[in-house]
């Protein structure tokens, strides 16, 4: 089976009118048999003035951490994954791995903020207020590591991770959907435990580990989209129909044609849809 991955992030129509920049980011890393890809949607609210940086750092962190697994367990060359990694991701994916992703992002954001000599925010005691700085970089993060015989998916905040094949469409992760324009965020304050009234960012994340049987030989695709895509359709059903139609294009024309048209299609989606930035990454297995 051949795995090809492609993605685009386009600035939203409303952001074009406003003269602001695209706050979405995406990243793809192909290493032999293994592929890592991620999308992130910077909040763009006034309180998150550096969220374009936040989303860029988020996809970087996810891809870097997953590349660590690829190197250590030679996922790029091995056809069968080490039982040790399978066990680890199964047992610790939702806890240690998710926590590492959010904590690495947090550390990278704070370092970036200092390196760029941006305003240091302090609390009443004069200490650096990490939470206030992190809030300025607020973003979502969705990512997948796809190896020869498994995938690992991570989602924190809104957006969609879907699998499509000839039999239909299904969500890889069924994450919390918040109404309106609110979302869970990588910038959630790490202040203690949920039972103590505070929550870690990673506690709002969802992960999934699943075995893949490529011997079946049927094509399929993973789609990662920021919420600007789904919000440009009237209903969940219409959103699903849209991804099925994109999948049909993949099957009929291949990923090259999709890559030549995707930016234009996503811009049209934003202009005639919700106006938000839109990102789509497609991992096509044919």
């Amino acid at each position: 089976m051949i795995t090809e991955t492609f993605g685009e992030s386009v600035i939203g129509a409303s952001h074009v009118r406003a003269g602001t920049i695209c706050q979405d980011s995406h990243k793809i890393v192909q290493r032999g048999n293994a592929t890592v890809f991620a999308v992130a949607d910077g909040h763009g609210s006034a309180a998150a003035e550096f969220s374009n940086d936040g989303s860029g750092l988020a996809v970087d962190v996810f891809c870097t951490l997953m590349e660590g697994f690829i190197e250590r367990y030679q996922l790029d060359t091995h056809m069968t994954t080490s039982p040790a990694l399978v066990t680890y991701l199964n047992r610790e994916g939702q806890t240690k791995v998710a926590r590492t992703i959010t904590e690495e992002w947090r550390a990278l954001v704070l370092k970036t903020h200092m390196d760029l000599h941006r305003e240091i925010i302090t609390n009443d005691n004069g200490d650096v207020d990490d939470a206030a700085i992190l809030k300025k970089y607020g973003t979502t993060l969705l990512g997948m590591l796809v190896a020869n015989d498994f995938f690992f998916a991570f989602q924190l905040g809104d957006g969609d991770i879907m699998r499509v094949d000839e039999n239909g469409i299904e969500p890889i992760i069924q994450a919390d959907k918040l109404l309106g324009v609110e979302t869970h965020s990588m910038s959630k304050i790490d202040g203690g435990t949920r039972s103590a009234g505070k929550a870690y960012a990673w506690e709002s994340s969802f992960t999934k580990f699943m075995r893949i049987n490529r011997q079946e030989g049927l094509p399929y695709a993973y789609f990662l989209t920021t919420d600007g895509f789904a919000n440009s359709y009237a209903s969940e059903e219409d959103f699903h129909k849209a991804l099925l139609a994109y999948y049909a294009v993949l099957n009929q024309h291949g990923i090259r044609v999709l890559s030549e048209n995707l930016a234009k299609w996503l811009s049209e989606t934003s202009a005639d849809g919700c106006g938000d930035d839109v990102t789509m990454v497609v991992c096509y297995n044919s």
Binding site: S14, N231, Y233, A242, E268, C274, D276
Partner: protein
């Protein structure tokens, strides 16, 4: 050469933004009060249309709910603002506010509300005290997902209005606008419609940015916090989640601006989004009170 294909995926959709006038038509509103309400809302429709045109990525849908002895939808289904026409309301009867909250709650449930909508805007106008049991219906309304997230504004007409009840509705005393004379009532209606009817750009915000249980109340620690702002929409005033008029070509921060009529409206911004700037609430003349 690149092969150009038509976009797959069927019809696209903007996000609905529901704007609901909730009008007290009890006997105490008879005469100049209901006449002023009718005139003011009628005259503000073109401004709402103009504000909506500045954000083509949301569909502004308007309707009216009246209450006196019982409550009734004047417009039975949401009407695109371009097609919205105001039917003059008549006053008479008691003040069954609880019935109005019941009808509101039924419409803010999912369905008929879409889970992909923008937060709805509810503007309540009242001059009196509820005559029915409003507490449970209000509690039910505020516990609905969209009831929690709705932008809620109240206009307190005259000196007999029960501001405590209106504050319970808005959850924020600063969003209970005082209208103690006809001129003030006109200003407040225009402000509420203009401030809240312009559609917002769909930027996201962290759930952390809004304290739980205090939907859209001003966040003193974050004067620029907005429901759906973009990177450039920091407001000089106290931001609450919501919407502001968008008619200017530049994306300046929302700030009070004087108009020929003397009313202050939220500064227009093409950034779409928006902050209701409490500092822009019109000044009113306390003389000549109802």
């Amino acid at each position: 050469m690149a092969e150009e294909l038509k976009r797959p995926g069927g019809e696209l959709a903007t996000r609905p933004l529901h704007f609901i006038w909730v009008v007290d038509c009890s006997g105490s509103m008879m005469g100049e009060k209901i006449g002023t309400v009718n005139h003011a809302i009628q005259s503000t429709i073109p401004e709402m249309v103009s504000a909506a045109k500045n954000n083509p990525n949301a569909q502004l849908l308007v309707r009216t709910l009246k209450f006196s002895t019982g409550a009734t939808w004047v417009t039975t289904s949401p009407v695109p603002v371009d097609d919205f026409a105001w039917d003059d309301l008549q006053a008479g009867g008691v003040t069954d506010l609880g019935k109005a909250f019941e009808l509101l709650a039924a419409q803010l449930t999912i369905p008929p509300m879409s889970d992909r909508a923008l937060p709805p805007v509810l503007v309540l106008l009242s001059d009196g005290q509820p005559t029915d049991d409003y507490k449970k219906p209000l509690d039910d309304l505020k516990h609905l997902p969209w009831g929690k997230k709705a932008v809620k504004i109240a206009i307190s007409i005259g000196q007999d209005a029960d501001d405590g009840v209106l504050k319970e509705f808005t959850g924020n005393s600063e969003l209970v606008l005082q209208a103690n004379n006809p001129q003030a009532l006109v200003k407040m209606i225009k402000w509420a419609s203009t401030a809240a009817s312009a559609v917002s750009a769909p930027a996201s915000r962290s759930i952390e940015e809004r304290p739980q249980g205090a939907a859209f109340a001003p966040d003193a620690s974050d004067p620029s916090a907005s429901l759906s702002g973009t990177a450039g929409d920091a407001s000089a005033g106290t931001g609450i989640g919501g919407f502001a008029a968008g008619t200017a070509a530049t994306g300046s921060a929302a700030a009070p601006s004087s108009t020929a009529s003397g009313a202050n409206y939220p500064a227009a911004t093409s950034q779409g989004p928006l902050v209701i700037d409490l500092d822009s609430i019109p000044e009113i003349n306390e003389n000549d009170v109802w």
